[in-house]
Structures are given as C-alpha cells and as structure tokens.
Amino acid sequence: MAEPPPYPEPADDSGVRPTPGPTGMPRWVKVFIVVAIVLVLALLVSWLLGVQHGPGLHSPPGGSGGQTAPLEVEQP
C-alpha cells in the first residue's frame, strides 16, 4: 500500500497547510552532550586529583594557584 502523502495534495490545499509540530532534540545532539559531559567530568576529576596538565594558570585546589612561578635563574 502506498504511503499517504505527508501533506494534502496541492489540489486540496486551500493555502493553509498543517505545520509540523516541534521535533525533539536529535539523537546525535544527545550523544554529543553525553560525550561532552563525560569529558568534562574526567577533566574535573583529574584536576581535583592534582594531575598536572601543562603550563596553564590553573592549579589544583590547595595548590599555590594563579600564575606559574617564574623559574629561578642560575647566577654565574
């Protein structure tokens, strides 16, 4: 059996067509959000555990925080 057309035929159309209702969030967006949350949580946990991750200005809680201290210069 043929699928019914999603909208009335043009001949039956008086100019007013049913507007499709609002569609929900696509699955790919939900997957994207879940992956992002997992990544953020992983980074947060590593930060709370004090794992160093480069020369950024952010330090783990309890650390000195703020700017990375300039390195000592060896005097001749």
């Binding site: 043009p10 001949a11 159309d13 100019g15 067509r17 507007t19 609002p22 569609t23 969030m25 696509p26 790919w28 967006v29 994207f32 160093q52 991750h53 480069g54 020369p55 950024g56 200005l57 952010h58 700017q67 990375t68 300039p70 390195l71 000592e72 210069v73 060896e74």
Partner: protein, 202 residues
C-alpha cells in the same frame, strides 16, 4: 539580515581561511609540544618553548579570534542563524570554549618560554638543570584536546547534521506564516519548498 551572494562568498572564504589556519597552527604547536617532551637536548627544549610561545600568540590566538568573529558573521548573515540549528549552536559553543581556554592558557606558556630564554647556556644534567623544571613536562593535553575540539567543529560544519532548536523551529514557523499568508496554491507550494532550498547554498 542575509548577505548578498558575493559578500557571503567572501565571508565564507575568510572564515575557512581562519578556521583551517587555526587547525594547522595547533598541529604545529602539538609537534613542538611532542618535541619538548621527547628531546634530551637543552637547546632544542628551550627552542620548542620559545617557538610554542610565538606560535601561540602570533598564529593560534589571531586565527582563533578571526575564526570566531567570521563564524558569527557567517551565522548571522545567512539563513542558518546562530541559534537555529544544533550544529551551528554547538560549533559556536565549542569555538568560544576553545578560544577562552586558549586565552587563559597562553600566559602560562609565556612564563615558561621566558624561563627557557633565561636558561640559555645551562645543561639538562648540569648544575643548572633545575632551570628546566616543568619545561620537560611539555604541553600535550591542551593542544591535543584543542585539536579534537577543532576537528569536531570541522566535521559539524562539513556534514551539517539535521536538527533545529526550538527557537529555530519557532522562527521558521513565523517566517513561513508571514511568507505564505494569503498565498495562492502555487506560491504556497513554493513558499514551503523555500525552507529547504534556502539552506542548500552552502
């Protein structure tokens, strides 16, 4: 307000230039970071940090800001909009996030690049080895994660997966109602088909 086609092409070309340039500059930064982690040579270690500092401030930061600005211009100057489609919205959020992390991160790179400059003449195993504290840790996480984010944005921009936000659906319905009110049967068909056709140019 939508841009005329000629202006849109210029804006698109500029946006591509900044965005692809950003990815390329991050790849260069990542290569330098890997070299910083793996090298056993003091001059090379110092050079990598100085090069990362220069690459970051004079290539990555301008390209990132340029990509963000031109991306917003492209979104607002076309039918895509900034908040209408999930792929545009997610690309925008990720780009802002990447740019903010970059701007917060670079001052720390500069501090270590200054330390690398001051360590000139000191060896990795000699009495001046403490000068290299933290330099040999490298900086792999930030550029690696940044590259993943930029590639995700690139994939979204190329494939443009379907999906309209509630705001986008509401705006589309409003525009359709305005366009189709009182339209004849034929123009009604056309006004419905325009929703898709208008987004086919990119």
């Amino acid at each position: 307000m939508t841009m005329p086609p000629a202006l849109r092409k210029v804006a698109l070309a500029t946006h591509l230039l900044f965005s692809v340039g950003w990815i390329g500059a991050v790849v260069a930064y990542l290569v330098l970071s890997v070299a910083a982690v793996t090298t056993q040579d003091a001059p090379t270690l110092r050079a990598t940090w100085i090069a990362m500092d220069l690459t970051g401030w004079y290539a990555i930061v301008p390209l990132a800001l340029g990509s963000l600005v031109t991306g917003v211009v492209m979104a607002l100057g076309t039918k895509w909009g900034l908040f209408r489609h999930y792929w545009v919205l997610i690309s925008f959020v990720l780009t802002v996030l990447a740019a903010v992390v970059l701007l917060l991160h670079m001052p720390g790179v500069s501090v270590l690049a200054d330390a690398a400059r001051e360590a000139e003449g000191a060896g990795l195993d000699g009495p001046g080895k403490h000068l290299y504290t933290r330099l040999d840790d490298g900086d792999l996480l930030h550029p690696a994660l940044g590259l993943v984010v930029l590639l995700a944005i690139q994939v979204l921009n190329v494939y443009k997966p379907q999906g309209m936000t509630r705001y986008g659906q509401r705006k589309q319905a409003e525009e359709r109602a305005a366009r189709c009110s009182g339209a004849s049967t034929r123009t009604s068909e056309e006004c419905f088909s325009r929703d898709a056709a208008e987004l086919c140019w990119n």
